[in-house]
Amino acid sequence: MNNNMNKEITLSVQGLRKTIGKKEIIHGIDFELHRGEVFGFLGPNGAGKTTTIRMLVGLIQPTAGTIEICGYDLKKNFTEAMENLGCIVENPELYPYLSGWENLQLFANMLPKIGIERMNEVVELVGLQQRINDKVQTYSLGMRQRLGIAQALLGRPKVLILDEPTNGLDPSGIREMRQFIRFLAEQEGLSVFVSSHLLSEIQLMCDRVAIISKGQVLQVGEVRELLGQQERLLWKLSPLEKGTAILEKHTEVTVTEEGQVITAYVDGHQTGLWIQQLVEAGVMVQEMNRQVPTLEDLFLHITGGETID
């Protein structure tokens, strides 16, 4: 994966708004997806995640704003835009009275030039070869999820939109899904848009994330970067007062009730110098930890106390 590829924009959303009745529920959303990245979409229930996703896939008409998929405007060139998009909105609801293969056949019929080879390919990709001729009503949720992914990938899309892809899966299923999504982005070069309420999921599989609340994007950025802002060093010093005094010369210091000292994260060289000073002043550094915050912490920080659920 080189840098050039990374910059290719596959999905671009600008000034997206939706008004239902007199109430505006989405107040102007902007973000972009690049080729080969997994993009997380994070927000509490009622933040407008679902509405936004449905606008992205053409189920709901935006009141204002544009959505471009691979350069095609979703409204003006619906067909071309949708040819580049694969999606699962909420649960993968398929026709239960048809077999998995028949379901795929239906979707293949609605795409240009998709033959049996490609169908076999996606079935193999999601590992459903054994059960593909059984009726969908006999499938487990995990299998339906896979079939859903198979249909989404059928048209060789450049953008994949997955709404809560790990919802209802067991732990091993979740892990498999995560690996699969990474595989699609890294090996196949797809842009994958993932919404999830499981923060750890986003953290583990996304390159970038948009945080949405009350119909607005609060922050968009690389997951690592966003997390970096929130990285901390935790110290256990003895004697406490003396050590705190030394560190205060260099940075802002917080002392917790348990007697833990928290400072901002700095690079290794800087940290080394601090430790040297502490040791020289006769302060014992009993423990020092680098703490990577969770997205939950991040979210709490950005929204100022609003929780995800």
């Binding site: 449905r54 189920l59 999606c87 048809l98 028949e102 239906l106 609605m110």
Partner: protein
């Protein structure tokens, strides 16, 4: 487009609704055939003859005796008088209005089914076409394909028309096969008088013509097909508007049943003739029964039904292509 239609047919066949409709019709045919056979047997026992002239003469006399009763309403009296005039006309022309055989049974059956039974069967299919996608959630898959929405709806509508044609065919085939077991399979060429015109409560026989029964049946089935398409289109609209299939069916069912009730009591409410459900009993123009409301003709009913269907179709497309799907 053809692929989209194939898709819809796949779903239709996969759902087995056609099979259910076929089974229902087969059962009803069997019941009605039995009832009809019993009725014929009873008449034969009572009159002691199989001569249709005797039977018809007797029917005329019986109806005349009912006319003598003071308790019947004016409309009913008119209906009976027209019936007598018609039967007398058959008798005078020495044509058996009920040549025994499956085709004759079919003729009577389609005349009686066109107002309620066939529309109901069609409704079972049509009311489900769009709303089932909504209730299953598959609409989200359907509308996120690189296919414009109007094309998807059109493919569904074409499928509806195909299904209606198929149902009408199955109706005819089942009716023929099942009733033929009892009444025999002959009678396609039997002459039938059509072209009666009811005007001012009087039967006008000036423009009548004789056609072979198969041609009459083709005409009656053509009309039944038309009525079914109209009812199907209206159900289709409901299916677009309503999320649940059951609600759509309920609304349509209420309309259809109110139609059969209204037809019997609206003669004084002139404007009711613009309601679609009053115009459904369209084969009655072929047999020359008095219309529910004075002044209704075949042309009138066909026009009214066409307008209803056209508006419903337009609304279906208008709503479906703009609808937000949640």
């Amino acid at each position: 487009m053809i692929n989209l239609v194939f898709n819809e047919i796949t779903k239709l066949l996969g759902k087995r609704r056609l099979l259910v409709v076929t089974l229902i019709m087969a059962m009803l045919m069997a019941v009605f055939t039995y009832a009809q056979a019993k009725e014929i047997e009873r008449t034969r026992e009572r009159l002691g003859t199989e001569d249709w002239r005797t039977t018809l003469q007797q029917q005329i006399i019986d109806t005349q005796n009912r006319l003598g009763s003071t308790r019947i309403s004016d409309e009913w009296r008119q209906t009976l008088q027209i019936r007598i005039a018609q039967q007398q006309y058959y008798l005078d022309n020495d044509i058996n209005p009920a040549e025994p055989g499956a085709p004759t049974f079919l003729r009577g059956f389609i005349e009686n089914s066109v107002q309620l039974l066939l529309p109901l069967m069609v409704m079972v299919i049509a009311a489900d076409l769009v709303s089932s996608e909504k209730s299953l959630g598959t609409i989200k898959l359907l509308l996120t394909r690189p296919v414009k929405r109007w094309r998807i709806l059109l493919s569904k509508y074409i499928t509806l028309i195909l299904a209606v044609s198929f149902i009408i065919f199955i109706f005819g085939l089942l009716g023929y096969l099942i009733s033929g077991l009892v009444f025999g399979y002959k009678g396609w060429m039997a002459p039938v008088i059509s072209g009666f015109v009811v005007q001012g409560g009087e039967l006008d026989t000036a423009s009548t013509f004789i056609i072979p029964q198969w041609q009459y049946l083709l005409m009656a089935f053509g009309l039944a097909w038309f009525v079914s398409i109209v009812v199907g289109t209206l159900s289709f609209l409901l299916s677009v508007l309503v999320r649940s299939t059951a609600a759509g069916m309920g609304i349509m069912l209420a309309a259809l049943i109110s139609g059969t009730i209204l037809s019997n009591m609206v003669s004084s409410w002139e404007a009711a003739k613009y309601l679609f459900m009053v115009n459904l009993n369209i084969t009655s123009y072929l047999t020359g029964q008095s219309p529910p409301i004075e002044g209704m003709t075949l042309g009138f009913s066909v026009t009214i039904l066409t307008i209803w269907a056209a508006v419903a179709l337009f609304l279906s497309f208008f709503v479906f292509t703009r609808q937000d799907v949640y």
